[in-house]
């Protein structure tokens, strides 16, 4: 960039969202500079489960997640094998008839969006995933969902951007923004547009942005190929995932490309304390074992924590920030940042280019009214 002169766009944050923004902006022919205080893909991106899932918590969430899945599918051939994409689909598991009724409602929503979703009865579920406990009511099979390995996905997106002239500077901490540029410890760089994609850290540069870190734990096992075949999620996930006040756990297990099982999930609001909460991990694993009893005997090799950037209404903040300057926000993706990174990036690129985004971007505007406060 020093040789090429002033960048058209500066993307702050080289996580999955920043990387996807750099890819989309460079595709439009912009000269992009990506700055990261640490290293690419090393923050929340490295801590996530890496699911690509259609989620129907709200119409706007379903619109963004399904649009993003299309974007991922379009990009996948360019991203290569390193991203460890596994199109395993998701089984949303119903424990009882009440939840099975919810499965049917969910199926209608997915069908309205043109997404493949098929109801499994108890027998079909047991045959699809024999290690699930007996007595479950059924499931919704969403075949288009997938899992991938997020740090390498971020690297590959950055590689595509760099092939088009984008530059990545790591260990470059932005101290403040203003005057059409960013200020670091040693230099100030100006650009046509600044995109803030620093997740839970975003409010530091744009005070007032309603994002809080929401901590999660994950556990990964040794290789046990064939233990399960789909991403497994309890239907109650949405209820517990959006309970903003208390600690919560929900059953979510993924079969990774390596044969390992990734076990989630937990949520708590404790600021940026990264230490492992043993009782919460125990609850989370007990929940997993209540669905998959045989998981209790498997060998767990690592436990880690990460911070989801959470917003009051569980929708990300995508678009122009309130100041008159050309500052765009691409943050607040909570636990769906891997899925929605690509859709977010397309919306940002469209807004920067003055095009109408493919989906209505108003629900994600960073300056929308936030009825619920974040606790």
């Amino acid at each position: 960039m020093t040789s090429a002169g002033r960048p058209d766009a500066i993307v702050i944050g080289a996580g999955i969202v920043g990387a996807a923004c750099a890819e989309a902006l460079s595709r439009d022919g912009l000269r992009v500079l990506v700055l990261d205080a640490g290293f690419a893909g090393g923050g929340t991106t490295a801590a996530g489960m890496g699911h690509l899932v259609a989620m129907d918590d709200s119409p706007a969430q379903l619109a963004l997640t399904s649009y993003s899945l299309e974007c991922w599918r379009a990009l996948a051939p360019e991203l290569g094998r390193e991203i460890a994409l596994r199109e395993c689909g998701t089984l949303w598991i119903a424990e009882n008839d009440e939840q099975l009724a919810a499965v049917r409602a969910k199926k209608r929503l997915y069908h309205e969006r043109g997404l493949a979703a098929e109801e499994l009865d108890a027998r079909a579920l047991a045959s699809a995933e024999p290690r699930l406990r007996e007595g479950l009511a059924g499931a919704l099979h969403v075949a288009g969902d997938a899992v991938l390995y997020p740090p390498c996905a971020a690297l590959r997106l950055l590689a595509l951007a760099r092939a088009r002239g984008a530059e990545l500077r790591e260990g470059w901490r932005v101290l403040s923004i203003g005057g059409g540029g960013v200020r670091g410890a040693r230099e100030t760089i100006s650009a046509g547009v600044i995109v803030i994609a620093t997740g839970a850290d975003a409010p530091r540069l744009t005070p007032g942005l309603p994002i809080v870190p929401r901590k999660g734990h994950l556990v990964i096992t040794d290789r046990h190929p064939g233990f399960c075949h789909h991403q497994l999620v309890e239907l109650g996930y949405l209820t517990s995932a959006h309970e903003m006040t208390a600690e919560s756990v929900a059953f979510n297990v993924q079969p990774r490309e390596t044969g390992q099982l990734l076990i989630g999930s937990s949520r708590e609001l404790v600021g940026l304390d990264a230490t492992i909460n043993r009782p919460l991990v125990a609850r989370m694993l007990a929940r997993a074992a209540s669905f998959l009893p045989a998981i209790a005997a498997l060998s767990a090799i690592r436990v880690w924590t990460g911070f989801r950037p959470a917003t009051p209404d569980s929708l990300p903040l995508i678009g122009a920030w309130e100041t008159g300057e050309n500052v765009m926000i691409a943050a607040g993706h909570e636990g769906l940042g891997i899925t929605t990174a690509t859709g977010t990036a397309r919306i940002i690129a469209d807004l920067v280019a003055g095009r109408a985004p493919a989906i209505d971007a108003a629900p994600y505007s960073p300056v929308r009214g936030h009825a619920a406060a974040v606790h």
């Binding site: 490295a46 390498c152 009782p279 694993l285 005997a297 090799i301």
Partner: protein, 420 residues
């Protein structure tokens, strides 16, 4: 659930000495060890064992001391409670268990440093200490053609025990420069016991070639090692073998200390005069605080065991012995300093992370250990970088990534049961 005044992690010489001293001063001492019995590596008990008199004596004293020994116990996590008490979570035969204690002595020992070279992942390529451990645990190497090539004082005793066990030791190759190794040998008169030991070991494989300034270039084979190529910088030669023992000295095992937040410098746990770490009531002794051999480990363990019981300052009488031991350890380090040529042994295709099969060529020297882990999966497997970490430290000067629980792979059920 068990309760102790002093919990000791590791039942090698340092842990045994700490447990004995703590018990003798009236403490309820409990030792956790991953192995099948007390003794650690040097005094490992098993069907193929010849424990020296010093070790037999300490094992007898331990048995009579009243200290509890819990073998086959993998410590997975250590918690510090609000009242300052420690809870050590461990897994034993697949079940979760725990012990609470007022003080901890970390006697976690050391492990071998491996440096990658082509073929080092072939079955039949084992650690030098690894071969010794297998031998003591009942493995037969009778009639096998064995090459021992690496570095450090372990080469001679392993060559000696292999010969005694009926193996045909074809070559013992020490990478250290002949001059440096000779200076070390010349300095042995300061430690006559060590000299006598070295002479005995050498006599044990008297008919075998012992080459200084010689190192492994490659292990050859298809589904197992068939031969090894060594070099002295000028000439290379290939020797057929069934087993290749490799290893480049020892590195302290500091994971438990780092999990607790204890300071670690130059790869060793930092301790004060009483062997206390930078975390109150956490003591460390033996190889974890710097590799120095069994006698130094015993001394440090004695000091730590007494101090953990509240008898601080008593180590003064042992301080001279400790200082002499540490001096000897420094001389060993100098004599067996690893040569630069070893960094060039690995080709881009050589595996460095054996858990995830990550090749040297996939790693960028300017990365950190954490970047390598996230970008390539290097160090992400069950050994948690305990093998590739020291190798990459030698190759690129990398510091290890942070430590998190579980310290060792544990059953999911163990983590479910591990709450305070």
């Amino acid at each position: 659930m068990r309760d102790a005044d002093v919990a000791i992690v590791g039942a090698g010489p340092a842990g045994i000495a700490a447990a004995v001293r703590a018990s003798q001063s009236g403490a309820r001492a409990l030792v956790l060890d991953r192995g099948l019995a007390a003794g650690g590596q040097i005094w490992r008990q098993g069907p193929g064992t010849h424990i020296p008199a010093l070790g037999r004596g300490w094992l007898r004293t331990l048995a009579a001391s009243g200290a509890s020994v819990v073998a086959s116990a993998s410590v997975t996590d250590i918690a510090i409670g609000r009242d300052g008490a420690f809870t050590l979570f461990f897994e034993r035969n697949g079940d979760a268990d725990r012990v609470t204690a007022r003080a901890i002595v970390l006697a976690t020992g050391a492990r071998e440093r491996f440096v990658p070279f082509p073929g080092w992942t072939l079955p039949g390529v084992v650690g030098i200490g690894g071969a010794q451990a297998l031998l003591k645990s009942g493995a037969s190497f009778a009639g096998k053609r064995v090459v021992i090539a690496g570095s450090g004082p372990l080469l001679l005793p392993v060559a000696s025990s292999m010969t005694r066990a009926g193996a045909r030791v074809m070559l013992v190759a020490e990478q250290a420069r002949p001059a440096a190794a000779a200076r070390f040998a010349a300095g042995l008169w300061r430690a006559p016991a060590t000299l006598a030991q070295a002479m005995r070991y050498r006599a044990g494989f008297a008919r075998t070639r012992y080459s200084l300034g010689t190192w492994t270039v490659a292990a050859l084979g298809d589904d197992r090692v068939r031969a090894v190529t060594v070099s002295d910088g000028g000439r290379t030669r290939t020797i057929e073998c069934d087993v290749l023992c490799t290893g480049y000295g020892l590195v302290p095992s500091t994971e438990a200390a780092r999990l607790l937040g204890c300071a670690v410098e130059h790869g060793a746990v930092v301790v004060d005069e009483d062997q206390e770490t930078t975390v109150a009531n956490v003591y460390a002794a033996g190889e974890a605080t710097g590799v120095g051999g069994a006698e130094l480990a015993i001394t440090e363990g004695e000091i730590a065991g007494g101090a953990a019981r509240g008898r601080r300052g008593e180590g003064a009488s042992l301080a001279g012995r400790r200082a002499r031991g540490r001096h000897h350890a420094r001389r060993l380090d100098e004599a067996f300093a690893l040569r630069d040529e070893l960094r060039a042994a690995a080709t881009p295709e050589s595996i460095v992370c054996r858990c995830e099969d990550i090749a040297v060529g996939e790693i960028r020297a300017h990365w950190t250990a954490r970047q390598a882990k996230l970008y390539t999966r290097c160090g992400m497997g069950p050994c948690q970088a305990r093998v590739c970490g020291p190798a990459l430290e030698f190759l690129y000067g990398w510091a290890p990534d942070s430590v998190r629980a579980p310290l060792e792979p544990a059953r999911v059920s163990t983590l479910i049961d591990s709450t305070t």
